[in-house]
């Protein structure tokens, strides 16, 4: 397969096949990937705006039945470090978020064995009665767990959660959407079809979601392409994904150990995702796993969103990586790359453009 032919397809606004995606990932050099991703990005976002959101990750518990091998965050229920946040603690964190101009909270566990759908219904409705904030919470793994625990369908669980105040769903837990890899890195977690089902049902209920990919562990390049194609297929059907966020496995303090993807691999995969996910409006750079420097460079490799200010982040930090960025640093870095920085909401509406 000729790279030149693939380039012409992309530059002409066409869709590339899985085989063509794989060829790019294998053979194209870094700058070519950036240029191709840039051409797609420019077609979708000619306005040279890079967005970010002010939000906070609230990890209501670190107790988790999944015990994924790549995870440094979870604890056993009897561990001295295990916790479940009280509602008061959650409210306080939300107050702080709002005081800092935050518009969204991203609540994720731990899949706690004892927390059922009632707990989340009460929590979300109590949050909504107190605060005006977007509740972007519970990954498919948690939603599947509470549905099964309550012996109800995914659709019914989502309807109840939505009625109680859940607005949208983060795309975490996708890892690699290939069961062979999932069986190795997260044997207790839902399989790829389960993940997709939650997203499909959410989209049917008009709840927007994002999608993620964690790479750099045990997957092959074919798996990465497969992951992207599966997302692209569902997006063709539902149009419910707002953004795609690839990030790299962080091996510190994990059972899986080993090494992670290098910066060059990260940028190539990011670029490939921009190229292949032609029906996704937004691609996020991951400063949390890559640091500010590579996240800025990622803007030339297809990213048009800088993610969140992450007033609080615990999961990547548990793996020993603790990049921090203030809102002002994010704005500075976007502007230094020659873009207009703009704060957005969960649905990617622009709230304010920075001077």
């Amino acid at each position: 397969m000729e790279i030149g032919t693939i380039e012409r397809t992309i530059e002409g606004g066409g869709r590339i096949s899985p085989e063509e995606g794989l060829t790019l990932l294998r053979e194209a050099d870094l700058l070519t990937m950036g240029e191709l991703a840039g051409s797609v990005r420019k077609r979708l976002h000619p306005e040279r705006i890079v967005t970010f959101i002010v939000d906070r990750n609230i990890n209501y518990t670190n107790i988790c039945v999944n015990k994924c091998k790549f995870c440094a965050f979870y604890r056993e229920a009897d561990s001295p470090e295990a916790y479940v946040l009280s509602n008061e603690e959650i409210y306080r964190k939300i107050e702080e978020t709002i005081a800092l101009g935050g518009t969204q909270i991203l609540m994720q566990g731990g899949v706690h064995p004892d927390l059922g759908i009632d707990y989340f219904e009460e929590l979300f409705s109590s949050i909504k009665s107190r605060f005006s904030i977007q509740v972007h919470s519970l990954s498919p793994s948690e939603i599947t767990y509470v549905a099964r625990k309550a012996k109800i369908s995914i659709a019914d669980a989502l309807k109840r959660l939505k009625a109680s105040g859940l607005d949208s769903i983060p795309g975490g837990g996708a890892e690699i959407l290939v069961d062979r890899v999932r069986e190795q890195v997260s044997p207790n977690k839902i399989r790829w079809r389960d993940w997709m089902e939650v997203m499909k049902e959410a989209h049917r209920l008009a709840m927007p979601t994002t999608a993620t990919m964690m790479f750099g562990s045990l997957e092959t390049r074919e798996d990465i392409v497969q992951h992207l194609v599966r997302l692209r297929d569902l997006q063709d059907e539902t149009r419910g994904f707002t953004a795609f966020i690839p990030w790299t496995y962080q091996p510190g303090n994990t059972e899986l150990g080993g090494r992670s993807a290098t910066a060059v691999e990260y940028l190539k995969v990011l670029a490939l995702s921009r190229i292949m996910l032609d029906n996704f409006a937004n691609i996020q750079a991951s400063w949390v796993t890559q640091g500010a420097k590579i996240a800025q460079v990622a803007l030339e490799f297809g990213a048009n969103d800088f993610g969140s200010t992450m007033i609080e982040e615990n999961v990547v930090a548990a793996a020993g990586i603790s990049f921090r960025m203030t809102r002002q640093e994010i704005v500075n870095i976007i502007q230094d790359a020659g873009y207009i920085a703009a704060q957005r909401d969960t649905r990617y509406n622009i709230l304010t453009k920075e001077k």
């Binding site: 050099d29 870094l30 700058l31 950036g34 240029e35 840039g38 290098t262 910066a263 060059v264 691999e265 940028l267 890559q290 640091g291 500010a292 420097k293 590579i294 996240a295 800025q296 460079v297 030339e300 640093e329 500075n332 870095i333 230094d336 790359a337 020659g338």
Partner: protein, 358 residues
């Protein structure tokens, strides 16, 4: 502003770039096009090869008579945190170098009391006891200082040091040549003219050296371009520079207040523009201790063909908030290069090939 297309045409037809070209390149936001041009220039010099050396850094003292505002390393004698190594300490460090290490990189503060003979003794001792290690030591700033201690001219000083075992000079202390900026940053330090004069003298007696530029503090884009062009001018005359190494300013614990680190864009642009302007330098080096491993790897597509070395163990950047680990192993360096799709070449200090990884 000169258009990037015009500059591109010059680059692809191997024409020399001028001041206005350099300024336009720095002002451009088209990072990938800069990368394309710089890669073309680097490819012409080194092909797919990316060089590294197994080396060890020794910083014998942080006691320094200068007070550069960008420096978090220097101390006065007797101040808390001040340290000095004896020749025996230095030798035992050198002896601790792992098998395969072939270069010592020795730079220091300007110590107020040690006599010139101490430096000769240090070199002689290292040369006698660890003869397999090439000694790359003393920035032009230190050479000027040693000449004063010795009461000799720069040339005679360099000849004495070479006789005692000095193999080549590192490129530090260049900072930014613009006198106004230099005065604000480091008033006590030798001028840019003097720095260049020391290097010219060294090259004149056959000593190779590197060259650096400290960027990301209070200098302008014009200052950077002028700095590069003065290096290019001298290189046209002597051919004695081996590599150019832009050094990204680290603000923590220094007297210069601004954002703590340079951006990824600025790092890559600076490397790329250096590659394009310094057409008579064989090598552009990304110093991973300052840039981080990630930007260093990406920089291989932005004109860089050298990533320094194993470095064990550097103190100067660390004092200013450097976040990289103290060292990378040879295998780490080889992996970093390979995973960027390039050919790792282990070299010695003067760029003889030690080993090529296929």
């Amino acid at each position: 502003m000169i258009s990037l297309d015009t500059i591109k045409e010059k680059v692809f037809s191997s024409q020399r770039l001028f001041r206005e070209d350099g300024i336009s390149l720095f002002r451009s936001f088209d990072l990938l096009t800069l990368g394309r041009m710089a890669s073309h220039a680097a490819q012409r010099k080194s092909g797919d090869r990316v060089y590294f050396v197994q080396n060890m850094h020794i910083n014998p003292t942080n006691i320094c008579v200068n007070r550069c505002k960008f420096c978090a390393f220097s101390r006065s004698k007797g101040e808390s945190g001040a340290y000095e190594m004896s020749i025996a300490d230095i030798l035992s460090r050198a002896r601790s170098a792992e098998k395969g290490v072939r270069e010592l990189h020795i730079v220091s503060g300007l110590h107020p009391d040690l006599p010139f003979t101490w430096y000769l003794d240090m070199l002689r001792t290292l040369k006698r006891e660890t003869p397999h290690l090439h000694i790359k030591a003393f920035t032009a700033v230190e050479i000027d200082y040693l000449a004063k201690l010795a009461g000799l001219g720069v040339k005679e000083t360099l000849i004495s040091l070479r006789e005692a075992g000095l193999g080549s000079l590192p490129g530090g202390g260049a900072e930014i040549f613009n006198p106004g900026v230099r005065n604000t940053l480091c008033a006590e330090k030798i001028s840019g003219d003097r720095w260049l004069e020391v290097m010219e003298t060294a090259h004149g007696i056959g000593l190779k050296s590197n060259a650096t530029m400290l960027y990301g503090h209070i200098e302008t884009v014009e200052d950077r371009v002028d700095h590069l062009l003065r290096l290019r001018e001298l290189q046209d005359r002597t051919g004695g520079f081996q590599a150019f190494i832009p050094l990204s300013f680290h603000a923590q614990n220094t007297e210069i207040t601004k954002s703590a680190y340079t951006t990824g864009f600025d790092d890559l642009k600076t490397l790329a523009v250096s590659r394009l302007l310094l057409d008579n330098f064989d090598h552009i080096k990304a110093y991973w201790v300052m840039l981080g491993e990630k930007i260093t790897q990406v920089s291989l597509s932005f004109g860089v063909d050298d990533i320094d070395g194993t470095v064990v163990e550097e103190r100067i950047t660390k004092m200013a908030g450097g976040t990289t680990d103290g060292s990378m192993t040879r295998d780490d360096l080889v992996d970093l290069i390979k995973q960027a799709g390039r050919t790792p070449v282990e070299r010695d200090t003067v760029y003889n090939t030690v080993r090529v990884w296929k």
